[in-house]
């Protein structure tokens, strides 16, 4: 018990601060209404829905083939993986097997997209902590990945590259060597530049170690997935536990850490970058010849039925629940997105911490608002 009785007339009044939706560090349009007691955060209530484009409603009025560009926009930071989930759901309903070359091209593109998205996450995470130099490192190399995308599918952010039955177009002749050249240039940089400037930095340690610790039970209760759950010590990489497309033929390992704090999440993403590079190198060798698209009729009629397909996008397990009633338009299409559940963890996690911790923790979860609001 403290020897000094609390001072009755020293009444401190908490004040409400709305952080967002227009705020430099909320990664899009998320509003956190914080009740602050001076510098300390007492409670936080995230409000979402500012970027709700009702993609699911529009999909109900579009044919299956027109749904692919819409699925891209569910998560524009890794558009390949979100359209991949939709396309695989449709193929599962049609139970259509696609040519092996298309499978490999899909894996190459989604792994490249994972690298681009993790570089974005690395940049914004360190920028939110105040380090502007790593941010520029991340974006400089992300440009090189986007050039590879632009060369194949003509776009840098929303690719519209997946098709029901394969991929939109084959890769240019010199694509693989350019990709390998990029990997050779970029992989040593990971340790020599990216981690060198940040990892041994004591200020970075103090700001991230033991901040925003999420226990595995809480994470499961809130439906956290992807790197954030692997940081709590659970292997939930769908490419391993529910292997889809050609992942069984590629060997790579899944980084797992048990602390569950901001630093662990950051480390997991850096390791995943290395694993993606490894996968890309194997795909470059094993890419078979042959067809890249099993062409489907434009007015495709999918037999009635429901299916739920889950893939490992860069932010977690992205699922597409598709209901069709036999017509050429999906009856109901629901995207289960990782950022939606990550956002719901914020109200549980941002309690009794400092204002500047909020920025660090929300950046470490790498949430992206288009996914949350769909």
């Amino acid at each position: 018990m403290s020897t000094f009785p609390p001072n009755p007339d020293l009444v401190t009044e908490e004040f409400e601060l709305k952080m967002g939706p227009h705020h430099p560090s909320t990664h899009g349009v998320l509003q956190l209404s914080l009740t602050l007691d001076g510098e300390r955060v007492v409670a936080c209530r995230p409000n979402v829905g500012f970027l709700h484009r009702s993609i699911e409603k529009i999909m109900e009025h579009r044919t299956y083939a027109q749904g692919v560009p819409l699925a891209d926009r569910v998560d524009y930071c890794s558009a390949m993986t979100s359209s991949l989930a939709y396309v695989m759901a449709v193929e599962k309903l049609l139970d259509l097997t696609i040519p092996p070359r298309a499978e490999y091209l899909r894996v190459i593109m989604s792994e490249l997209n994972r690298i681009a998205s993790h570089l974005l996450a690395y940049g914004t995470f360190t920028l939110d902590l105040g380090g502007t130099t790593p941010f520029l490192f991340g974006f400089r190399d992300r440009e090189k990945v986007l050039d590879l995308f632009e060369e194949t599918c003509g776009a840098r952010l929303l690719y519209n590259y997946m098709r029901i039955g394969g991929v939109a177009c084959d890769i240019k002749p010199g694509f693989l060597d350019r990709m390998i050249a990029f990997l050779d240039y970029w992989e040593p940089l990971l340790s020599s530049e990216y981690e060198a400037i940040i990892d041994e930095n004591p200020i970075f340690y103090n700001r991230t170690k033991g901040v925003g610790v999420l226990s595995q039970a809480d994470a499961l209760r809130y439906g956290v997935c992807g790197p954030n759950l692997r940081a709590c010590g659970l292997n939930n990489d769908i490419r391993k536990i529910e292997p889809y497309s050609v992942y069984p033929e590629l060997e790579f390992d899944v980084p797992i850490r048990t602390e569950g704090d901001t630093f662990a999440r950051y480390r997991i993403r850096m390791e995943e970058l290395r694993q993606s590079a490894r996968i890309l190198r194997q795909c470059a060798e094993k890419l078979p010849k042959g067809e890249y698209l099993a062409r489907q009729p434009y007015e495709l009629k999918v037999p009635a039925g429901e299916t739920y397909v889950r893939i490992e996008s860069s932010r977690g397990d992205l699922g597409c629940y598709l209901v069709s009633d036999g017509s050429e338009r999906p009856y109901r299409c629901k995207f289960r997105t990782p950022s939606f559940s990550h956002c719901s963890v914020f109200s549980h996690l941002f309690r009794d911490c400092l204002f500047s911790d909020i920025v660090a923790m929300s950046a470490s979860f790498d949430i992206v608002l288009p996914e949350t609001d769909r």
Binding site: S2, F4, P5, N7, L10, G38, R45, S347
Partner: protein
Amino acid sequence: MPFSMDIYAWDSFPIDTLLFWCFAAVMLISGLCVVTVKRVFHAGIAMIVCFVCAAGIYALLGCPFMAALQLLVYVGAIATMLLFAVMLTDKMMEPRPNTTFFQPFMGLFASVLLFGLLWLTVSSSKFGFAGWANSTAASSSAIDITSLSTTNIGLRLLTPYAVPFELISVIILATLIAAIALARKEDRSPADSGTPADAPASPAEPASTPAKE
């Protein structure tokens, strides 16, 4: 011809008398503002302007040590603390109560009394006008300028006035401890004393039942 920066062209233009008058004028006006201005925050700013002008006059009187000290102690610490207090309580204070009828007279009476007292002390003590700080023609006067230099102040502090100097440091220590004791939050339960900021022991209300806005 050794170049010497010493001799400014002080005497050709009575710059220091001009400076003195404007310092004094600004000081008087800001002093008045402190009392009359509506918002407390503006009164705080006026008070700071008053302190800065006082520091200016000290500098002109040839005692830069006092001027720097004045700036450091008054403007840096006391005024900032006062502004802090004003800022933190500004919302809670209801608008300025209208002063009742006979308050201005009380004020006038008190100020006249104070002025009389000041006049007595000033006129009874002997002042020799020692000329402005840097003017070379330092006429012989009751108080010679060099006695006010920093080294003399330092020496006097530690030799003849050593005892009060130590006493002051003890008092300051006491006030420091009292301030820390006052500012502590409610009783800190020993469990969470490790948290970075001393969080109150009050159970945090569950975030999922927010107050209806």
